[in-house]
């Protein structure tokens, strides 16, 4: 109930209290964030005041989803107030949310802010902007096979979003990628606002392995995402296999403690075999991927 009371409307604009936690993987936080985004996009011809005062945590999956909507609906007039938490405030500034709300830039040196890199595009091009990330990965791993595999899996994740994320002919085809090397773990979050895996996978698999469309009738979105990952695993060594998601899954399977989470439409799936069904859909797909370097370097030691 409380989640539905975040809006105060008047004739000129809509005010929204942003949730204390910006996140789309926990149901309560997801509901609140999706409410704000839904109102913002539904009434996109009005101006909106977004109040982040009480926001004290930005989860990467929520931050990327919110940011993606700001990017897609770039004409919405926004004003707002930033967080009283200085780390959140600095991160909002780094994500260009401040600029969008008409707020001054705010800088703060903090590993949680400095080590996150943000990329955006509608093609899979890794230009000079990617070099700091590559440099950091090289520092952690050296020029090992694992460095290359990780680098290639990141590129394949982007290609996956470019090739399969959106409908053919879609006007908006942007992907956003967050990437961080924090302590001993590489975190990758990639988002698209496209057709979603639960929508596309029945058609994809029908063409690949002739699974009848009726097979999907009783499958929820979390099950559909799981089916997509199972197919990717079993399709290894087949000439018709997909090439994108495989790389991500294979790194996660090979590296101890690595984890991948997929959120798409109503479904959530993680490599630790956790499935979740949500009440509200997200309009796209968010893949979050964490690979601890400790396990990587340990495997290198063992193999040499």
């Amino acid at each position: 109930m409380f989640a539905r009371m975040v809006f105060i409307t008047n004739k000129a604009h809509l005010n929204a209290c942003m949730p204390s936690i910006i996140c789309v993987s926990t149901p309560h936080d997801r509901t609140r964030l999706l409410d704000v985004i839904s109102q913002m996009t539904k009434y996109r011809h009005k101006s909106h005041f977004l109040d982040f005062k009480n926001t004290d945590m930005l989860h990467p999956n929520g931050a990327i989803y919110f940011l993606h909507h700001l990017d897609k609906y770039s004409s919405i007039k926004l004003k707002g107030r930033s967080s009283s938490n200085t780390t959140v405030k600095a991160m909002l500034s780094k994500l260009n949310v401040h600029a969008r709300l008409g707020l001054p830039l705010y800088n703060k040196t903090h590993p949680m802010i400095d080590n996150w890199h943000i990329f955006k595009g509608d093609k899979a091009e890794f230009n000079e902007g990617y070099l700091p990330v590559e440099k950091k990965l090289k520092e952690c791993l050296g020029e090992t096979e694992l460095f290359f595999k990780l680098n290639e899996a990141i590129s394949e994740a982007v290609i996956n979003a470019v090739s399969h994320g959106y409908e053919h002919g879609a006007k908006y085809k942007t992907w956003i990628l967050f990437l961080a090397v924090l302590k001993d773990t590489c975190h990758v979050v990639i988002s698209d606002l496209g057709v979603t895996i639960p929508y596309s996978i029945p058609f994809t698999l029908q063409n690949k392995i002739r699974r009848p469309l009726t097979f999907w009738n009783n499958k929820g979105d979390a099950d559909r995402i799981e089916e997509a990952t199972i197919w990717r695993k079993t399709a290894t060594n087949k000439s018709y296999r997909g090439k994108g998601f495989d790389n991500i899954l294979s790194v996660c399977e090979e590296q101890k403690d690595a984890r991948i989470t997929v959120l798409s439409r109503y479904g959530g799936w993680s490599s630790q075999n956790q499935k979740q069904t949500y009440h509200e859909p997200i309009n796209g797909t968010i893949i979050t991927w964490s690979v601890p370097f400790a396990s990587l370097t340990k495997q290198v030691e063992l193999s040499t």
């Binding site: 091009e125 290359f148 290609i159 470019v162 090739s163």
Partner: protein, 107 residues
């Protein structure tokens, strides 16, 4: 004998990615059409093309499959000819293995 050399990082890009133009500028189809096909067509019987991946930090499956698998699928080259004509050099043994696999699996 001076075999022709394609240095992927210097002649093309150190981080090639994707299959087609819609995926990005440094895609597999472009590499195949601009570099591999002209070199292969002008190759004499006694020559091999050296494809040097030194300095390439990213060579994903989509790029490699489209570039090399596409030689069979799109350009009609014979698999045995390709496997003999292409000399892949990389600090990573897996690059050579993957290229050979994509050529063998292409149809």
């Amino acid at each position: 004998m001076n075999n022709p050399v394609i240095n992927v990082a210097n002649d093309f890009y150190p981080r090639p990615a994707g299959r087609y133009e819609k995926d990005g500028a440094y895609n597999g189809e472009r590499f195949r059409k601009q570099f591999l096909v002209p070199k292969l067509k002008s190759l004499s019987k006694s020559e091999q093309i050296i494809i040097d991946f030194q300095g390439v930090t990213m060579a994903g499956s989509s790029f490699l499959e489209e570039a090399f698998g596409g030689l069979v699928r799109e350009e009609g080259f014979n698999k045995d000819f390709l496997l003999n004509a292409i000399d892949v050099r990389s600090p990573r043994a897996i690059i050579k293995t993957r290229i050979e696999t994509y050529i063998n699996e292409a149809h």
